[in-house]
Symmetry: C2
Subunit: 553 residues, 2 copies
């Protein structure tokens, strides 16, 4: 679809998945990498690829002579040659300047600070005295980091006390160092951002990353974090990438702190492990968008097309290929799991051999589906996710709790993640506004509001959210709850409240579950089973009545 | 993941997409096809492929000598050699017997009839007299068909009158013929079915196919047809495939008649054009499941992972590659569109050059997204789809229609497909049971039920469906509607009805839309806009009141 030929420095799994995307668009790609059978070369037989390393100046020049656009699948390339080629008029994406800035994490951080991007405090530490000074300035623990050639946790050292300084410097002796204040993060987030040469930027959903031994283990999308925090993270990531010239996909890793604020950790100027999930879960994969961006083609939608996904990396645990296939064989039995193996010939401990992406109708389902795969990787280890609530239960006063908790129990029984709080229309009106206005963005699908007497809460919340609001009239000391019922149900045209029977939070919860079930088949099935069970309970009473007679019942 | 090497007879687009799936599972595939640069060979450089046709006995034997399992991407292969190889102990999937039966459409039909599968009446017509006899037996029009070597409408002739018989026989002179009674179908459906060697069968969702010049043009998934009809079609397809020995994916094409009954049209013993959509829209693609099936690996889930998809074929319209890229370039601008180009070097009119699959959050959205792509293929031609209803509006009596039609108008304004009918709890109780029981399977997401007086309809329907039911109390001649309100809202624990204000079908419709919006972002956005518009209308009244004063208002 585009006559420009692309040359990729590096032919590993990232290059391979770029080639996969390119083939579908009839794009031509030439790979520069040492092995004859590099993963990316295996699935592109129409070109004469080049053998050599992505640091070899001559080989890079040879590649440039054969293609129209150069790109990278790894940032540790010879950026000076790329700069020289750019000078000569070759197209290089991302630009050599961007790659250079990112290659040195200290320079990267300085660049980000100068563009107003929030990062943890840091300082250059070229001497042991400077490291000790960092300890005084930042307190312990702090991070000592290699400026260059760092990846997958390599090149980082946690300095817990002053006595760690010497061993840390010994361990990181190969490159110059800098120190970073410890970021007391609650979760790690990541965003893939794609930037077209004309400056247009689109970002993928925010994911939650879980590392194991400093290597990416799980990528959860969407991150099970309050949607308002996610919107902030996405903005930080976009702002950061807008500051770098050139085109392509960038991986932006971030920390979220306890107060919901965001610190950018680091950037990769290429498709990234935390974006593998986009192949199955998004409308356009990061790989296709990378190709589109560097060829100045229109960018594709970065929206999710499935409700939930989790990616798990398949690392070699030894040199046994069979062992690395074990979780994959488990995944063959898992609905919604797609296995990606990279065609690497040799297996060794810690080598990225493949990944598995599990998608599903809800995060509850994806989490369940993932279990046997994780169990094959780490038998017996359970890492339960805290799921983002789908239903919000609110009530005007804690005196409504005895009525409302019956519904909460139903949601718990069905395994629906929910939140429960007090929001009073009359005593905390501003809290109510904030709750209602943010509900959809925070990820809620329905709100259950209980109120007695004048019972304004359900209707007022419904007036400020596009979500369905279910109202539970709570019986007060007078009027038998009819006051609340009429106040909740008789909403004016334009703003509906789904009203249930007086004090019947059971039905409110069941109604919320039916709403979810209309779009989540597994939940619909649960509701079907609930109804069958209910029928069975009555039928048992029928039998009992038959057996003991009405007068003894 | 499996040490068995696979050999594919044929290296076109179907073979290419099989290779794509195989690479991700570290499976080895060898292609037999004449061109050096056949589409499938282009993306698999680790094997020495074979040049030659899939009818060349020696070449097939050569392929067999190099691999563990043979399969096909086209049924018009030399099945005798495959039978000979099976005799010698080679694994062939699907079995040569299955391929032979399917190659001859007359034999295929006889096989299906003998296994109780519904097909249109047919008879052998080896002579002109026999064809005339078919005309007398079936009436005109009827179909005259080549028994063998037929595909994409080639080998079929519609005999409209007796005078067509001679030209029909002349046109189809190359192979023996049979005649088929005309099937007065309302829609064409298709199902991909995968069968593992051990006999396990899984079927994909039923799709609706729209042909242009007898070549597949659009594939709509899920078919916009009543879910109970779809369940029947799926059953017919599964039963048919259970009758064929061997493993692999099968494409089953069917007709649905006006009464909802199903006739099987024909079967392809391989991945099929009507299953391309599975790559983006299902949990496991037909290509991956074909590989799994023939290697006796566990089958993957055939469920959809997105709410809706439409696939459109990209055919060459001339020898201009640029012209065939035109709809693809349009698709680059369309969210949710994935372009598949097959790497074919030459373009010519009618040649399958690629396909585009559009996915989205709802069929409404996918239909909108598809428009610019279709317009690039056939400027000015609009083929509106009739969408399956997502909301059902029912009422106890036509006297409720004036109240309920206000809500219907809201749904229409929002572009939500819905159905509206009369279902009386007391006068048509069995119709009510059928309506409620089938609602979820038929594809509804919510039911709005209006009723007056005793007003049993909403609660009784809610008792027989797991879907959310919204109740509209309709005001009768006495008690001001409070009778209906209390009857609808005061449901017992276990069965909720989302009750809205008396006579307020507007709010019922808006509530249904909010329920859809919780899962369909585009609808949520519409609801947001509706609320802003409503606010604007009141603000204009504020301004007017300000301007003219309260006494002149």
């Amino acid at each position: 679809m585009n006559s420009q030929k692309v040359g990729i420095l590096g032919g590993g799994q990232l290059g391979r998945m770029m080639v996969e995307a390119a083939s579908r668009l009839n794009l031509q790609v030439v790979i520069l990498d040492a092995p004859e059978d590099a993963p990316a070369k295996q699935i592109e037989s129409t070109q004469a690829h080049i053998g050599g390393t992505f640091n070899d100046a001559d080989k890079i020049r040879e590649l440039a002579s054969q293609v129209d656009v150069l790109t990278v699948e790894i940032e540790h390339v010879n950026a000076d040659v790329l700069a020289e080629l750019e000078q000569k008029g070759h197209k290089v994406h991302p630009s050599s300047q961007t790659i250079k800035t990112i290659q040195d994490k200290f320079v990267q951080k300085e660049h980000l600070v100068s563009h107003g991007v929030p990062v943890a405090d840091f300082m250059e530490t070229l001497t042991q005295d400077a490291v000790a000074e960092a300890g005084r300035k930042f307190g312990y623990p702090f991070m000592l980091k290699s400026k260059t050639m760092a990846y997958d946790g390599k090149g980082n050292f946690v300095v817990k006390t002053a006595s760690d300084i010497e061993p840390a410097m010994a361990a990181l002796s190969k490159t110059p160092l800098y120190a970073e204040k410890w970021a007391p993060f609650t979760k790690e987030l990541a965003v893939m951002v794609v930037r077209r040469a004309n400056g247009e930027v689109r970002s993928y959903p925010v994911v939650e990353t879980i590392h194991k031994n400093s290597i990416c283990h799980l990528v959860i999308c969407p991150a099970q974090v309050d949607g308002t925090v996610l919107a902030r993270a996405q903005q930080v990531a976009e702002n950061a990438i807008k500051s770098f010239p050139g085109a392509g996909v960038f991986g932006v890793e971030m920390f979220v702190l306890a107060d919901g604020s965001i610190l950018l950790n680091e950037i990769a100027p290429r498709p990234h492990n935390s974006g593998h999930y986009t192949i199955e879960a998004c409308e356009t994969s990061q790989y296709e968008n990378h190709m589109r961006a560097i060829l100045d083609m229109p960018l594709g939608s970065t929206d999710m097309k499935v409700p939930a996904s989790i990616m798990v990396n398949i690392l070699g645990s030894s040199d046994s290929m069979e062992e690395c296939y074990r979780p994959c064989k488990e995944a063959l039995l898992v609905d919604g799991a797609t296995i990606h193996l990279y065609g690497k010939k040799g297996c060794r401990a810690g080598r990225k051999m493949g990944h598995i992406t599990v998608v599903g109708e809800s995060m509850m389902q994806v989490q369940q589906r993932l279990k046997p795969i994780l169990n094959a990787i780490e038998p017996g280890v359970d890492r339960p996710l805290s799921l983002r609530p789908m239903v919000g239960i609110i009530m005007g006063s804690d005196s409504d709790l005895p009525v409302m908790k019956v519904g909460a129990q139903i949601l718990r029984d069905f395994g629906i993640p929910f939140e429960l709080s007090i929001v009073s229309a009359h005593r905390t009106p501003l809290r109510m506004v904030e709750y209602a206005k943010s509900a959809a963005e925070r990820g809620l699908k329905a709100i259950i509001a209980g109120a007695g007497g004048a019972a304004h809460l359900p209707g007022m919340v419904a007036a400020m959210t596009p979500l369905p609001v279910i109202g539970v009239p709570v019986k007060g000391s007078s009027l038998d709850g009819v006051d609340s019922l009429h106040s909740i149900v008789q909403m004016p045209r334009g703003v509906p409240v789904a009203t249930v029977a007086i004090n019947n939070s059971t039905n409110a919860a069941l109604l919320a579950i039916r709403m979810l079930g209309a779009f989540i088949p597994g939940v619909l099935k649960q509701m079907d089973e609930y109804m069958v069970k209910m029928e069975g309970e009555v039928m048992r009473k029928v039998d009992k009545l038959e057996q003991v007679g009405w007068d003894n019942y």
